[in-house]
Symmetry: D2
Subunit: 289 residues, 4 copies
């Protein structure tokens, strides 16, 4: 069993920390929100008063934070506090250059780091069915695998530091793009008087088949956009994808256009809806909203 | 058993007509290419010297032609020659307004019409595993169903005249778009030093999962672009999708951009490669070709 | 002085034909609308009962028609009726392949053809200040120059048959694109609390300077979108630009995206407004409408 | 006469500082590059050994630095060193949120701040003909105006803190977009056999007229891409424009696509060429390179 410091007990972090505690690990958790910490205690964890206290005595520290800014701030605190040998696993979704910065800062103090963002959302976290994309050394991945298996169903070591974040970015650009394409297909079908249910059934049976169609087409046709994964979060993730492209010096025209459609959904006031609400943007552009 | 006139015995039409003959139907076929007609005869069909001869005495006429221009020309000949009550099934991929024109022209003479484009390509035609998207009346669809079942695996009546073409257009815009998105993901992964095999494996396990990934990711990573479905044909289909959008008075920004990427693949000399060669365009844009 | 048949006496053709009559030419005009023909008679022209009558005895026939379909139909009638040696000048804005078809059809009967689309709109037609882009032979251009000088201020022979239409397409894609870019600049300025008047004044003083800014920025900031040149017409012209690109086998990504924004303006119900109403699309996408 | 600290004596800063010294101001300059400082001394300025020394005793500090990172670093040093009442003018091109951060940090110490990015490039700096876009308070703008007049020809106070950077971003998105549109026009003209010189002459005479056409069309047609303003710098500026849009919560689809075309030019190895080399990207996409 491992002594784990866990910082960031939000919608994702809370069930993840609880799963680790339930698996028998010692989980000392901290979050700015006191009720979040109390919830972990109720689930068998230990309350920490701040990041430093969560780090002290831990073999592994896991961070699950909203964005780059928090990872730089909390990551800095962890590194300042930690003893050499600690394994720091950042499971937040951030820019690859933030992952690189974190790893370089940590390595100077003898601290090991993995970037391990996840996909699968709140439901995946609660059901311990996340996909986990891990960047860092093979040795550190091996050391962490047992913990990852408590949290997720698909666990892949994809490459060196930052690779986890790049794969997450690639995932989100493909998901966002497919949502946009399915939205355009629905608008075209409906505008020409074709039953979208029958039309998308055909698409789902051929080369156009995809999981977005499988899981979301009925809700999209019914305009039911309860999240799921919110537009606000996908907007953040498209920003990361474009930042990763800029850093990698590649040009991704579809990704760039998808990012603007997601930004439009948010600007139109749909940031709190499921990302399938991209459909509302194509509708607005087609005068059908 | 049905007496069928079949006009257009190319890569797709040839195996389709042969399947119908093998199923016991009387198939009288015509193509401008004499060897194509001989091939049908060898498969149990009957040679027609021209379109008129294929039409004469037929209960059903099937056309499988390259593009709108040929459908208007041959369709006009069929209508001129046919007796009232004939069922004309155009299985070519053309613009919805061509399907509408064909149906309106035919109805004036008491001829029934279905638009029934297919997806699945040469392999699907040869294995009788096509997806067939049918527009027209329910009665005509019912009458034709037995023939469709000889040719395809997924057979859906999607709506009134033109609906088959609209669904085919929707299918092709989604397929083209996903090929573009997967291409952008591959370029991003490779440019950042992430193993694309491992990276795409993760994508294929989550919400980004799609059939293009399943069937084509290994070949794309290996840059093996033997067709399959050629860029030239997808370029034609993206033109149809945009024409359908214009007719429907909707705006489809992703479709429009995908169409330019496909046009670029063709302009760069890759028209004869599989449509997954969209990857070469993203590579060129990223200075990686 | 020249005997001219003039077919198409709409918003553009009416003042053009009147200028030619006022310059002393014999102008025999036809339009489907009887009042349009009467208006020409009042301006000194002669009424023709149909296209054939306008063509008979003419040295030059000018057509000024809404779109490709009418040019093919009326052009066919002119060619059928005309004597060898006639000079047919199509001043409509159509696809380059329509211009090529018209010229090839005419040449077979010994009829000379120029494609000579214009820019400058209704105001330019009324003030005889049009820009005229002419495709065809140098000899035919020289023969027609005197007539063009009655109608326009900028008259350029840009190349062989179809070249006039290509230059018009290039003009419209640049104008549409600049309208879109200025719209995005206005939305960015306003959303950040910057006075758009002051901001655009700076742009108009540097490398970003352009005639759209000069002529339209005040009206755009005030949301005054009386035409001017209507979105409906620009939508038609963007379709021509993309058709020209497809025929030329080039990829024009910005043009394709601009075409969708123009299509969106139309779909949103703004087809009758000035093309600067592209601003409303960017506003809608930014949740600011 | 004013005592000025000037930090950042590169291609832009060097002639600017020299102009201020020549106008009789006391200019104490610092740059990491010793020769740059010596050049200022030769032009009548005074050498500073570091930022702190440039700040000491100054009434006004001007910074002219490459990017956000340096502005945050040097700006922090200036604020740490300065006495209340100092006027800090950042003339670098950076993100609006960096301008906001700088102003807020400075205001807490009683230091006044203007953001005052410029356009006009090296030539504009050398000829004291820059356009200067100023954000900040009216009083501070008035205080600085005399200095700006030594450096530029167009000087506009566009709004509160950050506004200068937003206007610069708007300028660069319009310039980049027009370069892309003119590139697409050239490729379309050339691919259809139309003389681009004659074609663009027509465009320059109508509503498509713009300064990019006036200044750069001959060089673009001749494929002469000596800078001028480098692709590398425009790539940085498009990143700022998109960051500004994200911060402002607006969606700018054309800007996003232009940014990818500029990124492509850079990825293709043309970062050191003039930004009109965007033409090479459209050529590559059209198979004409």
């Amino acid at each position: 069993m491992t002594t784990i410091g866990f910082v960031g007990l939000g919608i994702m972090g809370s069930p993840m920390a609880a799963h680790l505690a339930a698996a028998g690990h010692t989980v000392r958790g901290y979050d700015r929100s006191a009720p979040a910490v109390e919830k972990l205690v109720a689930a068998g964890g230990i309350a920490a008063a701040n990041t430093a206290e969560a780090v002290r005595g831990a073999e592994v520290v896991i961070t699950m934070l909203p964005a780059d800014e928090q990872v730089r701030e909390v990551g800095g605190e962890v590194i300042a506090e930690a003893e050499p040998g600690l394994l720091l696993i950042d499971m937040s979704t951030v820019r690859p250059d933030t992952a690189t910065w974190l790893a370089e800062s940590a390595h100077r103090k003898g601290i090991r780091v993995l970037d391990a963002p996840v996909s699968g959302g709140q439901a995946g976290a609660e059901r311990a069915a996340l996909s986990i994309m891990v960047g860092g050394s093979a040795a550190d991945f091996t050391a962490a695998r047992g913990l990852f298996e408590v949290l997720g169903a698909t666990i892949v070591h994809v490459g060196p530091t930052g690779s986890g974040q790049v794969v997450k970015a690639a995932n989100q650009l493909v998901v966002g793009g497919i949502l946009g394409l399915v939205s355009e297909a629905i608008v075209l079908l409906e505008a020409t008087g074709v039953d979208p249910v029958a039309g998308l059934d055909v698409l789902a049976g051929g080369l156009a088949a995809n999981r977005v169609l499988d899981l979301k087409r009925a809700a999209m046709i019914a305009r039911q956009f309860q999240p799921g994964f919110r537009i606000d979060l996908h907007h953040k993730d498209m920003g990361i994808a474009l930042a990763a492209a800029r850093q990698a010096e590649v040009a991704l025209p579809l990704t760039a256009l998808v990012a603007q459609l997601v930004a439009a959904a948010r600007a139109m006031g749909h940031g709190g809806l499921d990302h399938s609400a991209l459909l509302t943007v194509v509708e607005a552009l087609s005068g059908r909203s």
